[in-house]
Symmetry: C2
């Protein structure tokens, strides 16, 4: 997959060329770790915060305050253990940035600072790490966040899966924004920003025992700019939630339970790429339960629905946005779908594993 | 090590008793994960922030601001991969709290909020997780922090080592405090708050191939209260750094390089327990390079040294505090030690791995 010195566009910095692979010493707090930080991480994520090089990074949030007139911050964490590390449409690196950026955006926050914690497996090709870090740096630029602090640990061969990445993020919530999974109200409309199931099916197409030929690509993308556009149109948004693990079905169930309301949607309105649909049929899966990495649900008053839909459709990440259903006051905590033949069925929270390690 | 339902003081909540071990479904965003969160994590870490149950937790930092009159926050991340998970004096749970609490304290910050990201290996006994989470909860109480947000992933059997934990922390820096590894000045005195090498040797005594009988216990402890006491005595502190991976030698070298100064210390002044010394001699190791989890270096003007020493000694975590040396303006970037026979030797940054996975 990788040669020692180059991988895709990445070229190994000379001081690291002595290490074709990660060794335990890269995590032990000595010279080798210092080299890795100096020549790989600091170079890729170059910014004044990271360059403080202290046990903690000092963030002057008073500047953020005065620019936003708010003292409310969003704080979220996510560990990424996706397997394989590289998949159609992305890799663990950009996924680890967008995943946390999106969780911040789902609170209406403008993402600002991320931490990055690497758990590397002894034997990981340096070029693989280099390419992942380079993808992370690009993803940071694209979503407008900075890696403010980091950590590297190395575990013995056989006790990891190449690498795991934790990112933890901090963002500022603009004044007037009050988004929570508990805020859905009967009568609210429910929107989705596009085709569902792409990410999960892209990963599934690579899984051993299941491999199939497909052109499906992960939809991994930063949703914060689209959320910003929506908020600048209206702050009357009740809930936002990205449909990652457990897919759209899990998210709708969580909203129904948190807000103690019912949800009804029309199965035929859910946008699914024909190829995802076909793969799901082949494998006996329901696209509603397949993970996404660039799709979210918005719940908001009917009066706002049409104009938010237009804002979504004007953004490349929301071209296929649709209104899928609404919030009802009967059957609180329960999600139902009108099926393609006109009946109603209950859409449950998935029980356990459908496809593990998709993020 | 564990039975299914009880482990040390921990009793498995009834709804989790169907799962004697962690399975992949516990990380897949469905009902099983919801059960784990509800009956284990939320119960142990019970607080209003975590109970928001959204993609991000909303922190109202304006309250923190007005109470502290500062807009500067410390932000730090650490992943914990210690092996084995339980060791004399502690386990990965409390280590993951104190490690991040201490990194915040080393910026002079009052630690406030932590995130907790769990990477669990399929097959991990539920009781082991229960006991670790319970230790984390106690450690939070003891150090005065709250777990504000969390994440759980499960990796396949053979792709982890029981569990890895990432914690990322946020703390507020009081006004007038300006601590940085770049701030050491010639003439400054260097203090250590007690015996070094305990944590690393406690772990080493359990490593396969090296096992030896010992009464050495890890020194894992939260240092924030001690740092607060020091700061309330004087804000004239130049550097603080906890001597974890790479031990005291690594920390002194990092300070020498960051501040572009030299450091001279007296080897005989370094407090080391006789049993740690004996074990080091047996294994041919130097205690200066052995990791600690409750020891730190303070660099401050000579005029403050004696009173800070007294503050340290008045705290149970600083009883054996000593002045070990001082900052000099010759040999910038280089650390030297006066040896027990009166000569001088250069104390280098360790090259690579000495003892991997001690935290």
């Amino acid at each position: 997959m990788t040669d020692k010195v180059n991988f895709n566009g990445w070229t190994c910095p000379r001081p690291l060329q002595n290490y074709p692979t990660i060794v335990l010493g890269h995590g032990s707090g000595g010279k080798m770790m210092a080299d890795l930080i100096q020549h790989l991480f600091s170079k890729a994520f170059d910014n004044d915060l990271l360059n403080q090089m202290a046990d903690s990074t000092i963030l002057d949030l008073s500047r953020v305050f005065s620019a936003n007139g708010s003292g409310r911050f969003a704080f979220t964490t996510d560990s990424f253990v996706v397997s394989p590390l590289f998949f159609p449409g992305g890799n663990i690196g950009e996924l680890s940035i967008y995943g946390t950026v999106n969780d911040l955006a789902m609170s209406g926050a403008k993402p600002l600072f991320l931490s990055a914690g690497f758990i590397l497996e002894e034997g990981l090709p340096m070029a693989t790490l280099g390419e992942v870090v380079s993808s992370m740096a690009k993803a940071c630029t694209l979503s407008g966040v900075e890696i403010a602090t980091g950590d590297t640990k190395v575990v013995n061969r056989g006790h990891g899966d190449g690498m795991y990445i934790n990112t933890t993020g901090l963002g500022i919530i603009p004044q007037g924004v009050n988004i929570s999974p508990k805020n859905a109200r009967p009568g609210d409309f429910i929107l989705v920003n596009g085709n569902i199931g792409d990410h999960g099916m892209a990963i599934m197409s690579l899984r051993s025992g299941l491999e199939f030929e497909t052109t499906i690509k992960s939809d991994t993308a930063p949703l914060n700019k689209l959320v910003e556009s929506i908020i600048s149109e209206t702050t009357e948004i009740h809930c936002l939630r990205d449909a990652t693990r457990g897919g759209l079905a899990a998210v709708l169930n969580e909203l129904a339970m948190s807000s103690k309301i019912g949800i009804e949607f029309d199965e035929r309105s859910i946008p699914v790429q024909p190829e995802v649909n076909a793969s799901c049929e082949m494998l006996g899966l329901d696209p509603l339960y397949i993970a996404n990495e660039g799709k979210f649900v918005a719940v908001l008053p009917e009066a706002q629905a049409e104009k938010v839909l237009q804002v979504m459709r004007a953004d490349p990440l929301g071209i296929n946005a649709v209104i899928i259903g609404k919030v009802v006051d009967n059957h609180p905590g329960v999600v139902t779908a009108r099926t393609s033949i006109g009946g109603m069925r209950v859409v449950d929270l998935p029980a356990g594993e459908l496809l593990p390690r998709i993020c």
